[in-house]
């Protein structure tokens, strides 16, 4: 059965790449928005841009993965084609993992482009192992978060709207816009509940900037967020078709 599931996950992700990656909502929220944001930060203060890189890469991970999830899940929910996948001889969690993998690959392409061009342009000190160990669970976490929120609604625009709440909350509290250490205690606690905080912290280590937590803790906590999002997403999807 695990072979059936692995096959399903792979082909669902592959089909989603072919089918949805150039859909307008994926392009606007997953590509245009992060690029515009990065340009805005660069034009505002080119001299400090290097320090902002971890936050901007983290934001690219967040927006690209979640935008892709909204497309690969909600377009199919609306058109009824998600049902086809649930009728195939694979388990429901495997269907959802296939969908999450679609978001991971889209995020990986976008983040890879942003990260590699930033490294080429600004030549920061990069620890490639740390970078990979932080980016991989981060892509999975935000893709899973996207899947969780997207299965709650039907339309793509509803999903994008719903996703904006955690997206912007995390952007403002992850330490990029305002240092976590300077936040009021309540917000500080909230910041440590959000996965983007650990992505930014881990990327700080990976790009030669001192982080506040610990790279190992960042990796462990990010990994722990994956089941926290993906299991409820599978339950919600099952309930949706019950």
């Amino acid at each position: 059965m695990w072979k059936d599931n692995l096959r399903g996950i792979y082909y669902i992700a592959l089909k989603d790449m072919k089918t949805y990656y150039l859909k307008p909502p994926a392009v606007s929220w997953g590509i245009v928005f992060p690029v515009a944001w990065i340009l805005a930060f660069y034009l505002r203060s080119p001299q400090d841009f290097e320090k902002l890189l971890p936050g901007l890469i983290a934001m690219t991970v967040l927006f690209s993965t979640t935008a892709a999830e909204a497309v690969v899940i909600n377009l199919e929910l609306r058109l009824g084609s998600l049902e086809r996948l649930l009728l195939a001889p694979i388990s429901l969690p495997a269907v959802l993992l296939g969908k999450a993998l679609g978001g991971v690959i889209f995020g990986l392409i976008m983040t890879g482009l942003v990260t590699s061009s930033s490294i080429l342009l600004f030549r920061p000190q990069v620890n490639m192992l740390y970078l990979a160990l932080i980016l991989l669970p981060s892509l999975l976490v935000f893709s899973s978060l996207g899947a969780l929120l997207c299965v709650m609604v039907k339309e793509v625009f509803e999903a994008q709207t719903l996703l904006n709440f955690p997206r912007f909350l995390m952007i403002f509290l992850c330490g990029v816009v305002y240092p976590i250490s300077a936040m009021p205690v309540g917000l500080m606690h909230l910041a440590y509940l959000l996965p983007l905080t650990y992505t930014v912290d881990g990327l700080n280590y990976a790009l030669g900037i001192n982080g506040n937590i610990n790279i190992v803790v960042d990796i462990i906590l990010l990994t722990a967020f994956i089941p926290i999002f993906i299991f409820p997403a599978a339950k919600l999807l099952a309930k949706r078709f019950a």
């Binding site: 059965m1 059936d4 096959r7 399903g8 082909y11 669902i12 089909k15 072919k18 089918t19 949805y20 058109l79 009824g80 084609s81 049902e83 086809r84 996948l85 649930l86 009728l87 195939a88 001889p89 694979i90 388990s91 078709f241 019950a242």
Partner: protein
């Protein structure tokens, strides 16, 4: 594994919140038969198919499909059946061929067979010329055909067809029915829901009539017709034509007479008795019978009598008329 039945449903029940959609339904579908599920909108046909195919969990009851328990062996069961949902839901952005290849990938058709199998099905459904056309650009009939082809990609032993001919024109509907028969001849068990009574009568070995979530009868089309309290009709034209309908109404065995075109339609319980009465009447009055035809109860009559629902109501509900 039971070799006799393709589907066994035992006390199948489904609630949506407080609403009872399917109420303790029991039936078996034998391997190799075409089994029809008839009923008006909201009778529970699609809900039943969704439970049988593992898409929806029953609130109570047990299901075995191809010998597998749907609760615990769903993945194994799914390998043996295909489902054609009511709406054609393949991927608009993929070509006809890519849609079939994707279905083959999901169902584990070996890599070297996928393309060949897809092309065979495209040919069977007359879509080979459209293999590179995107699904979104195909006509309604072609979309329907391709959706059925996708359900057959893994050579299933059982196929669920939910309203397969809805929205198809006469030619496409007819060729689809031929295909269903052909599949059945090759040994595929067919579970069919339809609003078209004629279609069910033409295709099905047995029919279950569902009303308000309960099966009210399961039988062969012929037996269902025989269950109907007989109302036979005889259409007749005389020369010269009698002017008074009342004379015919007085005939023994005839309990109703209607004008029908240039003649009369006489209703009664026994066809031989009606025909006998017509000939006796003509002979007594010195009339020549220039036309006579008889009609027996149809599946439609059986359906109406068993459910109390006019067949037109189902078609209107479905947006067909």
């Amino acid at each position: 594994m039971d070799k006799t039945f393709a589907i066994e449903a035992l006390n199948l029940t489904k609630y949506y919140g407080e609403t009872l959609a399917v109420d303790q339904v029991n039936f078996e579908v034998r391997r190799g038969e075409i089994f029809g599920f008839l009923g008006p909108n909201g009778a529970g046909k699609t809900t039943t198919i969704r439970m049988l195919s593992g898409l929806s969990q029953p609130s109570a009851g047990a299901i075995r499909v191809l010998g597998y328990d749907i609760g615990s062996e769903i993945v194994e069961a799914k390998k043996g059946f295909g489902v054609v949902p009511e709406y054609s839901n393949l991927y608009g952005e993929l070509t006809a061929q890519d849609n079939l290849i994707f279905a083959a990938q999901l169902y584990g058709v070996p890599r070297q067979q996928r393309k060949r199998r897809a092309e065979e099905l495209l040919e069977t459904f007359g879509l080979l010329e459209k293999k590179d056309a995107h699904f979104a650009t195909l006509s309604k009939g072609m979309k329907r055909s391709l959706t059925i082809a996708a359900a057959l990609i893994h050579n299933p032993q059982l196929i669920f067809l939910d309203e397969p001919t809805v929205a198809l024109d006469v030619v496409n509907a007819r060729s689809l029915r031929s295909l269903v028969r052909e599949l059945n001849r090759r040994g595929v068990t067919v579970f069919l829901t339809t609003h078209y009574l004629e279609e069910a009568a033409m295709l099905c070995d047995r029919i279950a009539i569902l009303l308000q979530g309960r099966i009210i009868v399961i039988d062969t089309p012929d037996n269902l017709k025989q269950r109907v309290k007989a109302e036979h009709a005889c259409e007749v034209r005389f020369a010269p034509m009698p002017t008074e309908v009342m004379e015919l109404e007085g005939l023994e065995s005839v309990y109703r007479v209607e004008r029908s075109g240039a003649g009369f339609r006489l209703y009664g319980e026994s066809m031989p008795d009606i025909v006998q009465a017509v000939f006796t009447y003509a002979s007594q009055k010195g009339l020549e019978i220039v036309f006579i035809s008889t009609t027996s109860p149809t599946l439609e009559d059986a359906f109406v009598q068993l459910t109390g629902i006019a067949p037109e109501v189902m078609l209107v509900e479905k947006g067909v008329k």
